[in-house]
């Protein structure tokens, strides 16, 4: 298939690797950055920071609740803590602590959940995270982000450190397509339109952004012009970009590696209903837990592919007519 877009989508590092790199750079730039982990530093990639800054690395052992509250205490003492674990453990086991020790007093603590979504593959549903964004968005005052590639991750992790207030960022285990090139600007809460389009808008976060770009090529070959937007910040949403897309393309597909019920799609629909109603379709995990398998196999089986996005877009365009 001819690639219409300027995006080559070459395989780059996993966003968790980019997170590890960003932490080390942050550690060099700011002595107040402290990193916490719960016995997963080799997987979350905080190990690089631990090696270079052992005095500012807090190994908490397998005790996520304690880790999250400690992060709240460190933030209250003026530090900029980044606590990390797999997304599912961080959000599910640390949720009450994020509520009471972080969101409620609005402390300046940052959380990065790696191995998010279902693309971790073989380890299966107990380690997968399909509810993390719903939970994080339910915490008043939290900023919630899901970067798509290496550059986006580095930029947004650094932006999180400079942002005053609690932040949750999700990252993934598997290598992902490179979308951005040097010089790209990233701003919390500001969506990035990757491609112009007039018939339908594809909105995504994380690894589904690349799938949307691929879908736009499939659609282009069929004469459907698809706009593609990287909604890297899930909260606060870029309402303007959503309203504009709704008015101009009159159909929106939201694609995400998360439960459809309470993820970005539901949040976008809320903005659409308030600002400029249009037809919407959703691609995501449908009211179920996934299963073990190769990451590609799992993504395929649970419908998180460019072809599924294209199918949803065709349906939206048809319904519009």
């Amino acid at each position: 298939m001819a690639v219409r877009t300027k995006y080559e989508l070459k395989l780059g590092p996993a966003t968790r690797e980019a997170f590890g790199k960003a932490l080390v750079e942050l550690g060099r730039e700011n002595k107040d950055v402290v990193v916490l982990d719960a016995d997963l530093s080799k997987s979350t990639m905080t190990a690089g920071f631990a090696k270079e800054f052992p005095d500012r690395f807090v190994e908490c052992g397998i005790a996520e609740a304690n880790m999250v509250s400690i992060a709240g205490g460190l933030a209250a003492a003026g530090k900029i803590p980044f606590a990390s674990s797999f997304s599912c453990f961080l959000l599910n086991k640390g949720f009450e602590q994020m509520r009471v020790a972080v969101a409620y007093p609005n402390t300046n603590a940052k959380f990065v959940g790696t191995h998010s979504g279902i693309s971790i593959g073989e380890d299966g549903p107990s380690q997968m995270s399909i509810e993390d964004l719903a939970l994080a968005c339910a915490l008043p005052g939290f900023t919630v982000m899901s970067p798509a590639d290496e550059l986006a991750t580095i930029a947004l992790v650094k932006a999180a450190a400079h942002h005053k207030g609690p932040v949750f960022i999700r990252a993934g285990r598997v290598k992902v397509a490179t979308i951005y090139s040097e010089g790209q600007q990233f701003e919390i809460g500001k969506a990035i339109q990757l491609q112009e389009g007039t018939d339908v808008t594809l909105i995504a976060h994380g690894l589904m952004v690349a799938e949307c770009l691929k879908a736009s090529d499939i659609l282009d070959a069929e004469g459907i012009s698809a706009r593609v937007i990287d909604m890297h910040t899930i909260k606060p949403l870029d309402r303007e970009a959503i309203a504009k897309a709704s008015r101009e393309t009159k159909a929106i597909v939201v694609a995400e590696e998360h439960l459809v019920d309470a993820g970005l799609g539901a949040r976008v629909a809320q903005v659409v209903s308030e600002e400029a109603p249009c037809l919407m379709e959703y691609v995501g995990v449908e009211n179920t837990y996934a299963e073990s398998g190769s990451p590609d196999g799992v993504l395929q089986k649970y419908g998180l592919t460019a072809e599924k996005v294209a199918e949803a877009a065709r349906k939206a365009v048809r319904r519009k007519a």
Partner: protein, 273 residues
């Protein structure tokens, strides 16, 4: 405010604190008198003797930190903070009312001089550990004190924190268990027994003391011993009486979370003196 080591002066502050506790809870018509009264000597000794703090400069970076993890006992906290000059005494009567800084559980949004918002049990020790790590990283002399309820330590997170602090040799944190032996549903021994309590903390690696939590001199000695103990954190098991100072509330599970009536208030004030 003036700090004092004089036991008589501290005892007088305790009487004022007890009066304010029963008055504010009666005015609020709800609240937790039993666990507030059991912690009076602990809180007064900390705020008026032990703590290095400056109410005129509540965010002084080198200050000692204090967290009332058993947040439902906030009337005792509000009373001592008000007497120290952090907050207005005359507004204590507005406890639990709309717009009052004296919220139902401690809330830093309303009293910025508080170190933490508490009320959901089990988290104060972990938050305190975070503060103690932070102040240590900055090379500050600050010490962190966390007051735990006895029922509260049934929460699993307490034991995650209890495992963490000794392993990290944190001698700048002290936890005090207000061991009044009563929780909402009844006596701790009948709900989920905590014994052998001292042995548990010792086994986790804490320098552990068991004292009479209403004996001001014993509290002073325990805090001094904690400060002199290097290389490990200290846990002070303060054996107390729930509802202490008001005969009909003492050792009575009913007064965990029930406000006194006007008649009961008058009786209570007479007894407190």
């Amino acid at each position: 405010m003036t700090q004092t080591k004089n036991v008589e002066e501290l005892a007088a502050i305790c009487r004022t604190t007890r009066r304010q506790i029963v008055e504010m809870i009666t005015a609020a018509k709800s609240g937790h008198p039993g666990g507030s009264l059991s912690a009076v000597e602990i809180m007064v000794t900390l705020y008026f003797d032990v703590l290095r703090h400056d109410p005129a400069n509540p965010h002084w970076p080198d200050r000692d930190r204090i967290i009332l993890s058993k947040g439902h006992a906030c009337p005792v906290l509000y009373s001592v903070m008000a007497q120290c000059g952090y907050t207005p005494v005359d507004e204590l009567k507005n406890l639990r009312k709309i717009g009052s800084i004296y919220q139902g559980h401690p809330d830093v949004r309303f009293i910025p001089a508080l170190e933490a918002s508490t009320g959901s049990l089990g988290q104060g020790l972990s938050i305190g550990i975070g503060m103690a790590l932070g102040t240590k990283l900055d090379g500050r002399p600050s010490r962190t004190y966390v007051i735990l309820g006895d029922g509260e330590i049934q929460e699993g997170q307490i034991w995650e924190a209890a495992m963490f602090a000794p392993y990290h040799k944190m001698d700048n944190i002290v936890c005090i268990v207000d061991y009044n032996r009563i929780q909402l549903d009844g006596f701790t021994k009948d709900i989920l027994d905590l014994e052998p309590l001292t042995d548990k903390w010792k086994a986790f690696g804490w320098h552990t003391l068991s004292i009479d939590g209403h004996d001001i001199a014993a509290l002073q000695a325990a805090f001094a011993e904690a400060e002199a103990t290097k290389g490990k954190p200290t846990c002070i098991i303060a054996n107390t009486v729930k509802g202490k100072g008001v005969s009909f509330m003492e050792n009575n599970p009913k007064y965990h979370g029930v406000a006194p009536t006007q008649d009961e208030l008058e009786k209570a004030l007479q007894e407190i003196g």
